[in-house]
């Protein structure tokens, strides 16, 4: 039970990170392998805001999310849109965007290593006990989970009950048809990429409240987010949330019952199972 709750609490942040990636890949068609770097950058900003200016990380989200939105918009327009225009087909864009975002990954990671060094950072925020069903958990974890749920709910509302959100879902299904019904695909894609970056940054800021982080850990989180996105089905919000839940629980189970050094092996096992049995995602319909 203890393990289960810890896993669920962890999965909240995973879900946000993966939702960011699934928007970027599902709508903007960019497999952003530098997504984890956005997260790490958000960790450092939250750390800096809290230790330097004594700004509560939850309030800090109000600064971090818009900033991440603008920066990711800029990255998309400057670096990735030329690739979208150049690509002759989907496969070409996939290879190009993977290589370009690798470039971003290493560039950002290198800059952060130079800027912050390789050491681990953490800070104390709400490090108090909180009891759920007789077991105690860190209050910061519970709060981070609650915030993640709120943000994910807001995203769901946006995607399913607003015009802009519906347009994004239309682009995710078929960009060329979306164009026919007067959706500005290029703008929607840029918006989705920026929104995805903002979500991942929120995930990072929340993560930093209870997690020890360093400049080079982004890749690990990108990896986890990728697996969640594939498990849930690309561009699928419900799927991503459920997959994040499964991954969070599986990781916690393996880490506490077998060995903490095998968490990646656990995620890979899930990954292989998904690839073998449901490559289209948990809720995905099989392409016939």
């Amino acid at each position: 039970m203890n393990i289960l709750v810890t896993g669920i609490l962890l999965s909240g942040t995973y879900a946000l990170i993966a939702l960011g990636l699934t928007l970027q890949y599902g709508v903007a068609r960019i497999m952003n392998l530098g997504n984890g770097e956005t997260l790490v950058a958000a960790c450092f900003v939250a750390f800096w805001l809290y230790t330097g200016l004594a700004i509560n990380p939850l309030v800090g989200l109000l600064i971090i999310a818009p900033a991440a939105f603008l920066i990711n918009w800029g990255i998309y327009v400057v670096a990735l849109q030329p690739l979208v225009k150049r690509a002759k087909n989907r496969g070409q864009l996939e290879v190009d965007s993977i290589l370009a975002t690798f470039g971003l990954l290493f560039l950002l990671q290198g800059l952060m290593i130079v800027g912050f060094g390789g050491e681990y950072h953490s800070y104390n925020f709400l490090a108090q006990r909180f009891d759920i069903l007789g077991n105690s958990y860190g209050l910061n974890r519970v709060v981070a989970f609650g915030a993640a749920v709120l943000i994910a709910a807001a995203l769901w509302f946006f995607l399913y009950f607003t015009r802009q959100g519906t347009a994004m879902r239309a682009v995710a299904v078929d960009p060329s048809s979306a164009n026919l019904i007067a959706i500005d695909v290029a703008r929607t894609a840029a918006f989705a990429f920026a929104l995805g970056g903002a979500l991942s940054a929120c995930g990072g800021a929340l993560l930093s409240t209870f997690y020890t982080f360093n400049a080079s850990m982004g890749v690990t989180f990108t990896m986890k987010a990728l697996i969640i996105v594939i498990m849930g089905g690309v561009g699928d919000v419900r799927g991503a949330v459920l997959a994040a839940l499964i991954l969070g629980i599986a990781e916690t189970v393996v880490a506490s019952l077998i060995d903490p050094g095998l968490t990646l092996a656990a995620t890979y096992l899930l990954f292989i199972l998904v690839l073998l049995f449901r490559p289209q995602g948990i809720f995905g319909r099989s392409a016939t």
Partner: protein, 322 residues
């Protein structure tokens, strides 16, 4: 396939043999810095050419290099006291091919993105498994490899491996498999329609590539002498291989070489003078390749040649590049 060997192929064979002959003389002139740099160049020449065997025709970006390489290194580290070295090289090849086969069977039947993502974390996965097994069933995490091999032996072995990779690549190009790969590379659905088992062809090619990379790791094992998971499964190897191969260009067998030589020298300078800035350089290299030289340096050369040919009035060449 019974296509005869053409005159130009004999020409290339002579050039290649001469180049290998000259390269093999290098240890006679220098035993220090340049030999050690050349070992690195030769290592990446073998790795990148083996990588391009698979990733060139399929356009699948494989990041599994470090996993195969580490398996090769570990095959030697685990067996050096019990088994003869040539046998260990064979085991390393088998281990690389086996892992490639498993990864290929899981991912190559579906879209390319899954493959990239899967190989992205593969080295880390294998590293975790190896570390875990060692802490669980053995006392120490590190392993010692003591042999009589010197730097020049390693250099010669890598040179021989590179030569074998080249010959294999040439043989594949002439075989049914190579022909199938060219069709798959151009249009996969066409390939399926003419009856090519696309998944199987890709898996076989990936296994060949993985086997060579495993052997490269096995050859390098004596050079490290102390082997532990983080150095054997260093993910940076995978990324450097991708950069160098793409920088050179993967359309020609010798393309990766063009990228390997300058980039290994550059990385050697960077990592000795600015060790904190290697990530930035790697990042910039990726971006430069994507935006400015998507077909690699050999692609640029071919474009330039085609332009010159077109300017001479040869309309046929002009049509081909169009």
């Amino acid at each position: 396939m019974s296509r005869g060997i053409t005159g130009s192929e004999i020409g290339w064979l002579i050039v290649g043999a001469a180049a290998a002959g000259v390269a093999s003389l290098l240890p006679l002139f220098d035993q220090g810095f340049y030999l050690s740099l050349s070992v690195n160049i030769m290592l990446y020449a073998a790795l990148c050419t083996a990588w391009a065997l698979f990733s060139g025709p399929t356009h699948y970006v494989s990041l599994a290099t470090a996993a195969f390489y580490g398996l090769g290194t570990y095959s030697v580290a685990l067996g050096i006291d019990i088994l003869p070295y040539p046998l260990l090289l064979a085991i390393a090849a088998a281990a690389g091919a086996l892992l490639a086969g498993i990864v290929g069977a899981a991912t190559l039947r579906i879209s390319g993105v899954y493959f990239v993502i899967f190989t992205f974390g593969l080295a880390e996965l294998v590293r975790q498994l190896v570390t875990w097994t060692q802490t669980k069933f053995a006392t120490a995490i590190g392993l010692y490899v003591f042999t009589d091999f010197t730097e020049e032996h390693i250099y010669w072995m890598l040179l021989a491996l590179t030569a074998v990779v080249f010959i294999t690549g040439w043989a594949i190009n002439r075989s049914r498999l190579g022909f199938a790969m060219r069709i798959i590379g151009n249009d996969e659905s066409v390939a399926r329609h003419v009856g090519i088992n696309t998944a199987m062809s890709k898996i076989v090619l990936f296994m060949i590539s993985g086997a060579f990379i495993g052997v490269a790791g096995a050859i390098m094992a004596p050079r490290y002498s102390y082997i532990e998971p983080p150095s054997a499964f260093n993910p940076m190897i995978s990324f450097l291989v991708v950069i160098m191969a793409l920088l050179g260009g993967t359309k020609r067998l010798w393309g990766p070489l063009v990228g390997v030589i300058p980039f290994t020298i550059l990385m050697d300078i960077i990592s000795s003078r600015f060790p904190n800035h290697t990530s930035i350089i790697v990042g910039l290299a990726f971006l430069t390749i994507v935006y400015f030289i998507p077909d690699g340096v050999t692609g640029l050369i071919e474009k330039a040649r085609a332009k010159i040919a077109a300017r001479r009035g040869s309309e046929v060449a002009g049509e081909r590049t169009a």
